[in-house]
């Protein structure tokens, strides 16, 4: 969302009649320019874009930097665009720089995009000095090298780029002729994406649109639909997690008698809790994305404890279908999660009973209940009975101190 004023310098020399880019070099360039104008104005509404032609009868500014996208698109289709003459890069860049200097909003950064489709008759030295002047005035430069494959042209343009480049704000793209349209290739380059997220957002019209978004819907075209899809996805995920947690709780109620061992496990699990939670979530996510609706139906229809374990089993079997490793990880994390949450459940009730706690601590190998630090810890634990996580950490710290 960088606030920027851009001057696009297009090549309208004789070389642009060539058809090695469909339908013609000039048309391909025009499409690319339209896309860039759209992307820039969309990524920040205060961005301005101007266009000038580099060849023809001479360098001519078609529009000074403006926010009006309609005006820019009209320029590209206007009658004033004659093809002919030779590219005059040096004066074009200087005039572009002048146009940028007189931009209305001085807070905008300055950028020039040059489409170089024909041979460059200037030598490297000259281009480098132009680059230096741009760098001095902190103007960034993007170069699109396409069309005529002249000897030395890529090197000259690279030299220009290194002279201008300041902290990677300038880029160069070489596009050889081929079946792909010029604009499609450009979209994935920093010319678009280096200038913020606006580029990819605008590519709704492009062929790659479907694959880029989670739901196959461009948020820019239909924000409400995209939002609704995202919200329902979150709800499903939350429901699955709740279902998994409920299953763990049911299982824990059966483990009520085995609190001591669960405490021990809880301690050792404290370190791995973060990992197992992460694994569980990670395991849940690919699954949910793949079979979201199916699991949602299963979760809805199964509300009883027995069914919850069935849900888990279903989860795991589905994972087995997908990926053996994933299934193994899932099982491990489910078991750990079970014990962990059972430990969590028990702790709140159990810690209320201080006598019990002291006896438990006494039975643990490394802990001396008469140790003042342990006593302090117990006192503070009773004082704060809100979050079991906090208690877990403190307990872990006490145990670590003892060790």
């Amino acid at each position: 969302m960088v606030l920027e004023a851009t001057m696009i310098c297009i090549d309208n020399s004789e070389w642009m009649r060539n058809g090695d880019y469909t339908p013609s070099r000039f048309q391909a360039q025009a499409d690319a320019v339209n896309l860039i104008c759209g992307a820039k104005t969309q990524s920040n509404p205060e961005n301005t874009v101007g266009i000038l032609t580099m060849a023809g009868k001479g360098v001519r500014v078609l529009t000074t930097p403006t926010t009006d996208l309609g005006k820019l698109l009209a320029c590209m289709h206007g009658t004033g665009l004659e093809i002919g003459g030779e590219l005059n890069i040096a004066s074009a860049i200087q005039i572009a720089q002048l146009a940028l200097k007189h931009r209305q909003n001085k807070n905008q950064r300055q950028r020039i995009i040059v489409f170089a489709g024909s041979p460059i008759k200037y030598d490297k030295k000259m281009l480098e000095s132009i680059g230096k002047k741009l760098k001095k005035s902190s103007v960034s430069l993007d170069i699109v090298d396409f069309g005529e494959e002249d000897e030395g042209k890529p090197e000259k343009l690279e030299a220009l780029l290194t002279a201008v480049n300041n902290n990677d704000s300038s880029h160069i793209v070489h596009i050889p002729p081929g079946p792909n349209a010029l604009s499609d290739v450009l979209i994935s380059t920093p010319v678009f994406t280096g200038d913020g997220e606006g580029g990819s957002g605008f590519v709704a019209a492009g062929p790659a649109a479907g694959g880029d978004y989670d739901f196959g819907v461009d948020p820019n075209i239909d924000p409400e639909l995209a939002l609704a899809l995202r919200v329902s996805m979150e709800e499903e995920r939350a429901r699955q997690e709740a279902a998994a947690k409920r299953a763990a709780e049911e299982a824990s109620s059966q483990n009520q008698g085995d609190e001591q061992s669960s405490k021990l496990q809880d301690t050792t699990m404290a370190d791995t809790t973060g990992a197992s939670a992460a694994v569980a979530t990670d395991a849940a996510e690919p699954m949910s994305e793949v079979d979201a609706l199916l699991q949602q139906a299963i979760a809805l229809s199964m509300q009883t404890p027995a069914s919850d374990s069935a849900v888990r089993d279903t989860d795991m079997s589905e994972a087995n279908n997908e990926d053996q490793d994933l299934a193994a990880a899932l099982q491990m994390s489910m078991q750990e999660g079970e014990k962990d949450s059972s430990g969590q459940m028990d702790m709140s009730e159990v810690l209320e009973d201080q006598a019990f706690v002291s006896s438990v601590l006494a039975s643990l190998p490394g802990v001396d209940p008469n140790d003042p630090s342990v006593k302090d810890l117990l006192a503070s634990l009773h004082g704060k009975s809100e979050s079991s996580d906090q208690k877990k950490d403190e307990e872990k710290a006490a145990k670590d101190d003892e060790k």
């Binding site: 001085k106 230096k132 002047k133 760098k135 001095k136």
Partner: protein, 167 residues
Amino acid sequence: MNQVDLVDFIDWSGVECLNQNSAHSIANALKQGYREDDGLNVESDADEQLLVYIPFLQVVKLHSLAVKGPEEEGPKTVKLYSNREHMGFSNVNDFPPSDTVEFSAENIQAGKPVVLKYVKFQNVRSVTIFIEDNQSGGDVTKVQKIAFFGTTVETTDMKGLKKIEDH
């Protein structure tokens, strides 16, 4: 009238420096603490010229300027423009500077304040410093410290303020 170091009145959000090397920025020469450290300088990038724009938080009068730099790469010719916004290297020569200072190798090393044409700097909202060349004529100009001394136009005398008495 006591001349005061005007570093406290600089509007940092508007400070700009053209052609500075991004690793050695203008803050190294202007900010308190950084400018005292001779190891931290602002360096020029593409060539030896630097253009620094400093707006102030209120209107000030400039009395003198202290510039400190190394013997070889320190600035030589320094032109000051008062109240001109957004200058570029292309239009520095379009209007005459409010003042020009030529530093010799000794006084750039010492960094002693140089008195300016006070009458030209009576009503300064912003100052632009154009460093045209350096002592040795090399490609990189280094400046360790830039400090302005002067007074503010509207000053508040704290002793003069009386506490409002409660009824």
